[in-house]
């Protein structure tokens, strides 16, 4: 097991941020909070590795040394107050060391004040709907056609030949870089969950509830995620794609998307 863990540690060191296949760690992401989350994740992981080395080390030592085949006579002791108090207190201290930085990050995560842009995200079986609040822009985002054709049983299409198989949509969510984007999440039917690992966001979209979260992407690019809460038959087929663009490009995109003032039904509903 130590071997497994050490393999895993070296693997992590080698492959941090490495490419797609055999990826073994959480992405560091493109927001300040996703980086903080990643650091917390690694901090707890290293604590666990450290504890594992000590505890598993003691176990392996005793397994090697205190075996009957070496002709040892068993000791008789069956308790030690000092030892038991020690291994109650030390874990409490370690846990406090983990909890404090985690709480600091949690406070930041919950601070969704003064957003630069608000998007209402509505989950449907099985697609997402995005409505830019205060703008006449709203649309559905569904699984891209190429993936949809390949996904059925006996489709005869090799998933490997489809680019971004199951992680591509027709209309991605477009947001500007460096702007605080607030998401308001709800659902039209069952519980969904909007998960984008690179933004370190996972928030449930629940019928009758309006959940709130936010992100501020510091890099441009296309980032992919999926629905994370089982929502029925096609739960695996409602990906999430966010395209982070420069603010100017976002403005231009917004102008081209904006609908004429008398908005159609979907827009006014979603708003």
């Amino acid at each position: 097991m130590i071997r497994r863990l050490s393999l895993c540690v070296t693997g992590l060191l080698v492959a941090t941020g490495a490419g797609a296949d055999w990826a073994i760690n959480m992405p560091r992401g493109v927001t300040e909070l996703s980086a903080e989350t990643y650091d917390l994740h690694m901090m707890v992981f290293y604590w666990c590795v450290g504890i594992a080395i000590v505890v598993f080390g003691a176990m392996i030592f005793t397994l090697v040394r205190h075996r009957k085949s070496r002709g040892v006579t068993p000791a008789k002791f069956s308790h030690s107050m000092a030892a038991e108090v020690t291994w109650t207190i030390i874990p409490i201290i370690i846990l406090l060391l983990m909890v404090v930085p985690a709480a600091e990050t949690m406070i930041k995560i919950e601070d969704s004040r003064e957003p630069g842009l608000t998007v209402v995200v509505t989950g449907y079986q099985w697609k997402w709907h995005y409505a830019y609040q205060g703008e006449n822009v709203s649309y559905y985002s569904t699984l891209a056609r190429a993936s949809n054709e390949a996904r059925h049983k006996g489709s005869g299409i090799d998933p490997g030949s489809v680019e971004n198989y199951l992680l591509d949509v027709d209309n991605p969510l477009v947001v500007p870089r460096g702007t605080k984007v607030r998401l308001l999440l709800t659902s039209n039917d069952v519980v969904h969950s909007w998960w984008l690992p690179d933004l370190s966001i996972k928030k449930d979209a629940i019928p009758g509830f309006m959940n709130e979260t936010w992100f501020q992407a510091e890099e441009t690019g296309v980032f992919r995620g999926q629905c994370a809460e089982l929502c029925g038959m096609d739960h695996g087929y409602m990906p999430i794609v966010v395209e982070v663009v420069e603010p100017d490009a976002f403005k231009a995109w917004m102008d081209s998307e904006r609908e004429p003032p008398p908005a159609d039904l979907t827009t006014s509903n979603a708003r």
Binding site: M26, M59, S78, S155, D158, S193, S200, H235, G236
Partner: protein, 533 residues
């Protein structure tokens, strides 16, 4: 008349009834324990077959064998069958067999209720499994049965609810029986703190069962009335609250996690001292740790729900409380290690499973601490990382505990030693494949693969392939287990002595092997050497 009564009284000392009557009308704790264990093994293979379907479909990207609907039915049923059909009945079966033998009681306190609580189970699972053949198929909304999704279940829905009710009834009756037996029927000299750890772990587990099974029954009953009687407990459109269901469910669900692991703690605490030839380290603090875990299990439920949108204070509380559980759990791990320290260990199959439990359950514990850290858990939630985490605590945790117990007490039950070579082979195959199956799932989850999906993006292909191969190996290795057990039951193998192992402590080793149909008709005296603390 009076002679007839007297005869009937003498007749009570006869052996078991012949044929089916022995099992159908069973009131003997050993027979009922056997039935529980056989039932559990059967369900283990039913649930295992479903796991094989899941892993076959996930072997490579694209859909090859099943449709998404059926895949979701498989994940849902796999969980329900394994939790309520395999793990829980196995522990109740072990309690039935061993608690009276370990406390010096002639039988369980309530033998007829014992019969009833077992025979409800086959009925419950017949109902549950029959839903696979109903219009709309089996339930596919996940074993957590979150509304509104679960209300989209087809004809299977009321059958699902009814079978859950039956399982709950069975568990509650079993728990009452175990508590009454332990409290009232201990040998005269056995004070509570002298009880063996397996008995202690079950006493606490039984209280947890009585506390939370009614909560589950209430939650699913509200689902039932929402579906059929026009209520809106969980329907937002009628003023209800879908998140409330999750709170109620996990108020049951988290203690349930400990219901499935505490008896395994008890088993490991029996096995390690025997093969280390040294008394259990810190017997009393082990009891306090069990109690602390049981108490904390009631105040951590919302850590399953960090993404539902809880207030910050709620998140902070549940993070702190969850982390606290690591303290008594750590005490147990350290105490087991201290039990082995300067002992004289041998490594028979039960000891091997107990040792693998120590290492691999700890890994599940580590990922448990990681999931307690809220910002990181937001990434882990509903990903394969969580799948890896709970399979590490349930398979090399709960299941390895059960396997250790079976190998440990099988000679006592059957009077035959199992084949040690085959037992060890079974151990190594199981342990290697369990890691091949579940370790890569950590990586998949961290890389972004959600759970409960029938197909996945191609970058997840490599580790899924590895996990599937491991799962097939794990499944096949269990056939070896059946062979080893059946060999003993059929009376092959070396006859076992009454102590079986090298001077083990405990009253169960003072009766012959196989244990006679009736044991401890008069309460035993506990030899001072048998004092446990």
């Amino acid at each position: 008349m009076s002679t007839a009564v007297a005869d009937a009284h003498i007749d009570e000392h006869h052996g078991p009834d012949k044929g089916i009557r022995r099992w159908l009308f069973a009131t003997n704790h050993k027979d009922i324990g056997t039935m529980y264990l056989v039932f559990s093994l059967t369900m283990f293979f039913v649930g295992g077959t479903m796991a094989m379907v899941i892993r076959s479909e996930l072997l490579t990207p694209g859909l090859q064998f099943v449709n998404p609907e059926f895949f979701n039915q498989m994940t849902t049923m796999h969980a329900l069958v394994m939790i309520f059909g395999a793990i829980m009945p196995a522990f109740v079966g072990l309690a039935n067999w061993m608690v009276p033998l370990m406390i010096g009681a002639p039988d369980m306190a309530l033998p007829r209720m014992n019969n009833w609580s077992f025979w409800i189970l086959p009925a419950a699972f017949t109902i549950l499994l029959s839903t696979l053949f109903m219009p709309g198929g089996a339930p596919a909304g996940g074993w957590t049965m979150y509304p509104p999704l679960i209300l989209q279940t087809g004809d299977a829905f009321p059958f699902l609810i009814f079978s859950i009710h039956l399982m709950g009834l069975s568990s509650i009756m079993g728990a009452i029986n175990i508590i009454v037996t332990i409290i009232n029927m201990r040998a005269p000299d056995m004070s509570l703190l002298k009880m063996p750890m397996f008995v202690w772990s079950w006493l606490i587990t039984a209280y947890l069962l009585i506390a939370v099974m009614p909560v589950l029954a209430g939650a699913v009953t509200m689902l039932l009335t929402d579906q059929f009687f026009g209520t809106s407990f969980f329907l937002a459109a009628g003023g209800g609250d879908p998140v409330m269901y999750q709170h109620i469910f996990w108020f049951f669900g988290h203690p349930e996690v400990y219901i499935m692991i505490l008896p395994a703690f008890g088993i490991v605490s029996e096995v390690i001292p025997t093969f280390a030839r040294k008394p259990l380290f810190g017997h009393d603090s082990m009891v306090y740790a069990l109690s602390a875990i049981a108490f904390l299990s009631f105040i951590v439920w919302a850590h399953h729900m960090f993404t539902v949108g809880m207030p910050l204070t709620g998140q902070l509380f549940f993070m702190f409380a969850t982390m606290l559980i690591a303290v008594p759990t750590g005490v147990k791990i350290f105490n087991w290690t201290a039990t082995m320290w300067r002992g004289a260990m041998t490594f028979e199959t039960p000891m091997l499973f107990a040792l693998a439990f120590l290492f691999l359950f700890s890994i599940g514990g580590f990922s448990g601490v990681m999931t307690a850290v809220v910002p990181a858990d937001i990434q882990y939630q509903d990903s394969y990382f969580v799948v890896a985490h709970f399979h590490y605590v349930l398979v090399p945790g709960a299941l390895f505990g059960i396997l250790a117990a079976v190998y440990y007490w099988l000679p006592k039950w059957t009077g035959r030693m199992y084949n040690e070579k085959l037992g060890k082979l079974h151990f190594w195959l199981t342990t290697i494949f369990v890691n091949v199956t579940f370790f890569p799932m950590h990586f998949l989850g961290l890389a972004g693969m959600p759970r409960r999906i029938p197909d996945y993006a191609t970058q997840f292909a490599d580790f899924n392939f590895v996990a599937s191969i491991g799962a097939f190996g794990f499944g096949l290795a269990q056939l070896l287990f059946v062979y080893v057990v059946v060999t003993c039951i059929r009376g092959r193998g070396e006859p076992a002595t009454s102590t079986v192992w090298d001077n083990p402590k405990g009253l169960e080793w003072t009766v012959p092997s196989p244990a006679p149909y009736h044991t401890f008709e008069t309460p035993p005296k506990i030899p001072s050497a048998q004092a446990f603390s």
